[in-house]
Each structure stands twice: as structure tokens, then as C-alpha cells.
């Protein structure tokens, strides 16, 4: 047994003060999440990581819109804004001068200039701004282009079928399975791990890394440190070293061989991009698959239509993505600016709730209604502007195949208990018990 205290990585003490330069982590004033209780009014105390937010998010957005509040605010996290209309989300996403991507996950501490190897950022290109962003992004686009992703389709089918087989004997009307824990959560982690060339048996580790990064944002990062063997950075270092010694045809070797202006990437660029691919590729798609099955479990008419009219699938997938978009991004204010009357200060957080933009009635007819064959659907589930999700083609493939295989095996199913939703910027069911009513 190891002494976990001694094995902890020592994180630097954060600097307290107003936007100090040349620091690693800092906060405006000492922050204690326990100073903030339940959210009483989302207009003035918006908290996407309050446990009541994700289960009720569409109602929260509706209330904000109807109360004439396009941009909410909170003192939490040292000061954060939350635009919730399509127009305001779109505007922030496009404005890379006033809003920086230096950190895209809201936390109690802010990253100072020294915490990021400029201009790379911790996880390029998602954490990079122009012009470096364009260079880093161009490197990663080819392996995720549609024609490179399409050949994975048989693999995704086989994986989904295997997961369904592993559910064992199903007694229709009796058997309850957890569509999140036994199904959705295993799909993206398996595929991205294999694309990176990491051992399949490490899937549980990846999920723990993701949880650490995205769900524990109210804890001081110094308390989030974990044992060496569970540290993402050390794990990736080992995988990278293995790929340096044994190059092969996968994404990790691709990154190690990639060049910018004739130079190989800096080591922190390679590991940062791997961190991005692991984290961004896992619980986002898992959430989209879970939310789609959550919807179908409660809407038998939609389920019937999808089973009987498979030609609707492509429209249905886009509508799942619109109505249940899992990903909210974030920015830091780069310089003081007046945003529609909101006095935004340098280093304020700004959330980018694309899921809220997708429910804006000014942009979508019947925006709170799920329309399985919606023909006009310019949803923003994968973001807008230069940071459009790199993995969108893979995510769409996984979502479509996961839904196809599930409903092919179980043409009728219903909710069978409480759904547990995630906490934080990625919204989706983490426990989703469903009762199987019919098997194919």
C-alpha cells in the first residue's frame, strides 16, 4: 500500500489578487464553494454545476429567456457570465478577440500566463487562440475527416452488439438494464482508446481521468490531486514513450510524426492533444447516447417511428443532438468589454451553453419540442465558429450506431427508476435504468 498523502503531486499555492501577471494558478479572493448554497435565482446566481441544474436545464433556460435575461451572471467561480440565447452564444463563440479559449472548463481557480506553455495552451487546439489555433487544428483535422472515420463503422457495430450480448438473458417486461452504465459509457471510450493505440483494459482509468477534470470543479485543484498511478499526465507520458519506442499506425504515432513548419511538435503539444482527445471524446458522446435513449424510453411514439421508419434515423440523430446537446464550453474574458449592457471584466468566466442556444425559439420553431423528422436544423451541438468539435464525425457515427443497435435489439423499453444526471459542463444521464419490454 502506498501513502497517498506523500505520493500526492504538490500543486503550487494559488496567488490571490486581481488578475496578476506571470502566475500559474490564481484566484481573485479566497474561494470556498461552501459559501454558496442552493441556486435561488439563476439570473443573478447561475451555477451550471449546481446538482439541480443538469436535470432541469431546459426549464432553467426557458425561465431565463422568458424573464428577459439573455445573459445571466454569478459571483461563483470568482465571477462568471452565462449567455443563454442563440444570438449571444453565437456572438461569444465568434469573438476570439474579447474572449480567450485559454481555459474552456470553468474552475474555482484561473490559469495565469505561466500555467500554459504559450501559445499552445494545455490541450491544443481547444485551448489555443488564433493564429496558433489554426495551425494546431489543421494537424488534427485529417484523422477525423469523414472519410477517415467511416471505416470505423463496423467496429462500432461490433462493439455495441457485444455490449448488448453482455447484458445476458433478457426477460421482456421484467429485466432492467442500465443503458448508461452497461451501454453508453463503454462506447466512445473504447473507440478513442483504440484510435490512440492505448490498451483496451485501461478504459476504467480513462473514465476516472474525465471525472476528475469535468465533474469535480467545485473542489480546489490542490485537493483533486490523485495517486501517481492514476495521474493522467504520467499515464500519457508512458503511452507516448511506448509509441516512441514502437511506432504504429494510430493517432499517438501520428502526432509524434506530425510537423509544424518542418519541426516535430513540442512534447507538451503531443501530450496536450492526447489529453484533449481522451477527455473530449469520452463523456460527451456517452452523454449524447444516454440522453437519446432517455428520450426514447419516455416517448414510445418516437421509438416506434424510429424502429419502423429507419430512413428517419439521420434526421432523428440531428434532433437528439439539438434537443439534448451535451456540451457547454467556456471562455475567459480577454479584455474588459461591454456585452449587451453586461460589464465584462478581464478574466471573468463566460459559459458557452450551446445546449441552451439549441432551445432558443427565435432560432428554432417549437424549440422545446422534439420533432423526430425536423428538416431544418442548424443546431450548435458541436459548437460554432473556429472551435467546431473536431470529433463531430466520430461522435455522430457512434451516436447513430449506438441508437440503431439498441433499438434493433430492444424495440420497446421504458424508464425503470430514477435517472442520475451528470454534474457540470457535460450534460447527460450517468445512471439510466430502463425496463426492456420487447426483444427482437
Amino acid at each position: 500500500m502506498t501513502d497517498t498523502v506523500e505520493n500526492k503531486q504538490t500543486a503550487p499555492e494559488p496567488i490571490i489578487g486581481p488578475s496578476p501577471e506571470g502566475t500559474e494558478l490564481w484566484e481573485r479572493e479566497p474561494y470556498d464553494a461552501e459559501d454558496y448554497g442552493e441556486v435561488a435565482d439563476y439570473r443573478t446566481d447561475f451555477d451550471h454545476a449546481w446538482p439541480g441544474y443538469n436535470p432541469n436545464a431546459p426549464e432553467v433556460w426557458k425561465e431565463l429567456r422568458e424573464s428577459g435575461c439573455p445573459v445571466a451572471h454569478t459571483d461563483r467561480y470568482g465571477g462568471m457570465w452565462a449567455p443563454i440565447t442563440h444570438d449571444t452564444v453565437h456572438e461569444v463563440a465568434y469573438d476570439t478577440d474579447n474572449f480567450t479559449s485559454r481555459s474552456v472548463v470553468v474552475s474555482t481557480l484561473r490559469p495565469g500566463e505561466l500555467s500554459l506553455p504559450a501559445p499552445i495552451g494545455v490541450a491544443p487546439p481547444i485551448s489555443s487562440d488564433p493564429p496558433f489555433h489554426g495551425v494546431a487544428r489543421r494537424l488534427l483535422l485529417p484523422p477525423f475527416a469523414p472519410k477517415k472515420i467511416a471505416p470505423w463503422e463496423p467496429e462500432v457495430h461490433a462493439l455495441c452488439q457485444r455490449l448488448l450480448d453482455q447484458m445476458g438473458d433478457i426477460e421482456p417486461g421484467e429485466t432492467v438494464v442500465d443503458a448508461a452504465l452497461q451501454y453508453a459509457q463503454h462506447i466512445p471510450v473504447n473507440i478513442i482508446g483504440r484510435m490512440l493505440g492505448f490498451p483496451e483494459e485501461d478504459e476504467d482509468l480513462f473514465r476516472e481521468f474525465v471525472h476528475n477534470t469535468l465533474e469535480r470543479i467545485n473542489q480546489d485543484p490542490r485537493e483533486r490531486q490523485v495517486d501517481d498511478e492514476k495521474r493522467l499526465d504520467l499515464y500519457i507520458e508512458r503511452q507516448v514513450q511506448d509509441h516512441i519506442e514502437n511506432p504504429r499506425d494510430d493517432l499517438t504515432s501520428y502526432l509524434l510524426e506530425a510537423e509544424i513548419d518542418g519541426n516535430k511538435l513540442q512534447p507538451e503539444h503531443v501530450t496536450g492533444s492526447i489529453i484533449l482527445l481522451l477527455i473530449a471524446g469520452i463523456d460527451t458522446t456517452w452523454s449524447a447516447i444516454g440522453s437519446s435513449l432517455w428520450h426514447l424510453a419516455q416517448n414510445p411514439d418516437d421509438l416506434d417511428r424510429l424502429v419502423n421508419e429507419p430512413e428517419l434515423m439521420d434526421f432523428a440523430i440531428e434532433e437528439f443532438l439539438r434537443a439534448y446537446a451535451p456540451v457547454t464550453m467556456a471562455r475567459l474574458v480577454a479584455k474588459d468589454n461591454d456585452f449587451h449592457g453586461c460589464p465584462m471584466k478581464k478574466d471573468d468566466w463566460v459559459l458557452l451553453p450551446f445546449p441552451a442556444a439549441n432551445r432558443d425559439p427565435k432560432q428554432f420553431e417549437d424549440s422545446d419540442k422534439f420533432v423526430i423528422d425536423r428538416e431544418e436544423n442548424r443546431h450548435a451541438a458541436f459548437g460554432l465558429g473556429i472551435h467546431r468539435c473536431l470529433g463531430s464525425n466520430l461522435a455522430r457515427l457512434e451516436l447513430r450506431v449506438a441508437v440503431q443497435e439498441f433499438i434493433a435489439r430492444f424495440p420497446k423499453f421504458e424508464l425503470a427508476g430514477d435517472t442520475r444526471w451528470s454534474v457540470g459542463q457535460i450534460r447527460g444521464p450517468r445512471e439510466l435504468p430502463v425496463r426492456i419490454l420487447e426483444t427482437a
Binding site: 489543421r138 483535422l141 485529417p142 477525423f144 475527416a145 469523414p146 472519410k147 439521420d314 440531428e318 428538416e375 431544418e376 436544423n377 442548424r378 443546431h379 450548435a380 458541436f382 460554432l384 465558429g385 473556429i386 467546431r388 463531430s392 464525425n393
Partner: protein, 64 residues
């Protein structure tokens, strides 16, 4: 009918390629490219409209 693609606006969502592969292709970076000169062949008008009305970046437009 003619279909136009603004390459500056395209961010590679690939909706057009999925909905109207007869009219749009994608390059090695996943960016959309027009097949041909933008003249929409008879019978593909609906697909052209569908591609335009599903582009999140408003990069596709149609003229008669």
C-alpha cells in the same frame, strides 16, 4: 438553381456532404467543396435546399 459555398464560413460540420453527397464533397481536412460549378441538376433541388438549411455556419446559399 445554383448553390454557392462560402469556404471562409465553412467550419467542416459536414452536414451538406451527409445530406447532399451529389452536390458536395469533403477534402482531406473535412472542409466542404462543391462538386462541379454549382449548377443544381434537375431533381436535386430539394437536396440543395436541405443542405443550405442545415448548415450551422450559414455557409451555403441558393440562387435561382
Amino acid at each position: 438553381m445554383r448553390v454557392h459555398l462560402d469556404a471562409e464560413k465553412c467550419q467542416g460540420h459536414n452536414r451538406c456532404y451527409a445530406l447532399a453527397p451529389e452536390l458536395f464533397d469533403v477534402d482531406d481536412y473535412g472542409q466542404a467543396v462543391l462538386i462541379g460549378d454549382g449548377d443544381v441538376p434537375d431533381g436535386l433541388e430539394d437536396k440543395a435546399r436541405l443542405a443550405a438549411s442545415n448548415c450551422p455556419e450559414y455557409a451555403i446559399s441558393i440562387t435561382d
